[in-house]
Symmetry: C2
Subunit: 310 residues, 2 copies
């Protein structure tokens, strides 16, 4: 219940990070692309095969040190239904390797349509009496602009099937304040959304105090991150913005509670593209990803330790 | 540019409505399901084949009287990548029949990720030097909670490729007010979002004064619909909530400008499931959909005419 499974994996690995799997073809080593394009004549099928091979290599290299992966739907959808098949197979592979999978889809709608999204990404679809899991992630990012009607179909599935959601609260981008920082009475919109997360999550609190309704809060706004950590004691945070977007280890420290729980920090390009950044042989992309994941883990651990005055 | 293509189709057909294609398997006539399930052993493949046959029948029956269709992504995603293939084939078929296609995905993200969504649903994806359209709709619904960073990648593609977007402004559901009606200074959130739509759309205004950045405004809130029509003179409206959700023809009248332009009214279940509601033979589902689409067209035309005192 809540995010217990994720929290336990984070504790076991002493690593509160998640690797984003946002595999544009530009990020995939040439030898993987060459093999896929020699095998498939349909370019989208070839592209999807290349993404999947790339992802599997990353998952193999990360699954014993990183508790979770976060595939970003957009990078699969841009390769059509073939790309969506690669998403499905990526999720299945990561789960087989024991990883917690957060599908980053920022889905949102109401009523029966939101039930359909919930079934698609977290639950199952009824097909002639059979219950079939279409994508079957452990958690899904969602957008709460439509209010409770858009969240309730998800929390019902979270409670029944031990899954979770992350609602966009304060996003990491430069223009996030255009709406999110505007004040409603004394509270900015992100705080109003955060308070709704606490309320939506209330019936799904787990053993560590966190509910199944988490929040996305960017590392690029450390002050708001600290404010929200204090204000939302039962809301687990997914924190983008570390690394490529400019957030440092010190910036993410406020995301954690006094036990060191309460948040998971994402890095996508930093890990996926470590081999490009380091200029190492592309054959070693997975090794480079692992090295960067370990560096990130230690970087964050050191910052947390320093903040406690250890 | 803007929504000119859609506006011209609406004028030609004298019908400002769009048929939602939200094909849950429960809505598909049994004879279509039986055929699909006898042909495919994979249940999701069979389900997807049934959805596609159902959609094609609807499109054939509607394409000369209804200017546009609106497939809702959730109902395809719930049938996995197989369902996404049915979405792709539905869009291609509708476009071949001359219909304007609005993909209802309510997508949202930032920067490179939003570019990926824009490429997926409106533009093209570069695959080894080739530009391939993954889903290729004419317009996409999006969520503006993340601000300009989430919209600019779309407006660039809209301008370059004559496509459009609809941003959620005031949604049709009961709880939409939880955030959208809250006041920022003197203006409710929906008005702040609406004003952003006007600004985002400014460089893409077409021949009829409407930009490529439209807004979703629900028929279930006719007062806000009237307020927003007055305040957002360059923003074309996609109006859900007619029929099954409780909005009547009188409620949608305020969505239109004095020329009768400015909005398109959606009906999904009302049209798709007309055969179930009317208790007619399921073999006649497409005929029933056409009759309901004509009834809806005339219902709205009569209400507009009445409001003008004709």
């Amino acid at each position: 219940m809540g995010f217990d499974r994720l929290i336990e994996r984070i504790r076991d690995m002493q690593n509160p990070t998640v690797a984003g799997l946002d595999p544009k073809l530009d990020y995939v080593p040439r030898f993987i692309c060459d093999e896929a394009f020699s095998k498939y004549s349909d370019p989208l099928e070839a592209a999807a095969a290349a993404l999947l091979t790339f992802n599997k290599g990353l998952i193999d290299a990360l699954c014993d040190i990183v508790p979770a992966v976060k595939p970003q739907c957009a990078y699969y959808e841009m390769y059509g239904w073939q790309g969506m098949r690669a998403l499905y197979e990526t999720i299945a592979y990561a789960k087989k390797k024991g990883m917690f999978v957060i599908t980053d889809g920022k889905r949102n709608d109401i009523g029966a349509t939101m039930q359909a999204y919930a079934a698609a990404h977290l639950g199952t679809t009824a097909v002639r009496g059979e219950q079939i899991a279409a994508f079957d992630a452990d958690a899904l990012t969602v957008n709460g602009y439509l209010g409770t009607d858009g969240i309730k179909p998800l929390t019902e599935i979270c409670a029944a099937q031990d899954k979770g959601i992350f609602v966009l609260v304060k996003t990491s981008n430069v223009s996030s304040g255009e709406l999110q920082d505007k004040c409603i009475g004394d509270n900015p919109v992100y705080r109003v959304m955060g308070d709704m997360c606490e309320a939506w999550g209330e019936p799904t609190r787990g053993a560590y105090g966190y509910s199944a309704v988490g929040a996305v809060v960017g590392a690029t706004y450390p002050q708001q991150l600290a404010e929200l950590r204090g204000a939302l004691p039962h809301t687990f945070f997914l924190v983008p913005g570390y690394g490529a977007q400019g957030g440092g280890a010190k910036d993410v420290v406020p995301a954690f509670d006094k036990n060191g729980d309460g948040a998971i920090i994402n890095s996508s390009r930093g890990i996926m593209c470590a081999y490009q950044k380091n200029g190492c042989d592309e054959q070693d992309y997975a090794k480079a990803a692992r090295a960067e994941a370990l560096r990130m883990r230690d970087d964050i651990a050191a910052a947390i330790s320093e903040s406690k005055g250890d």
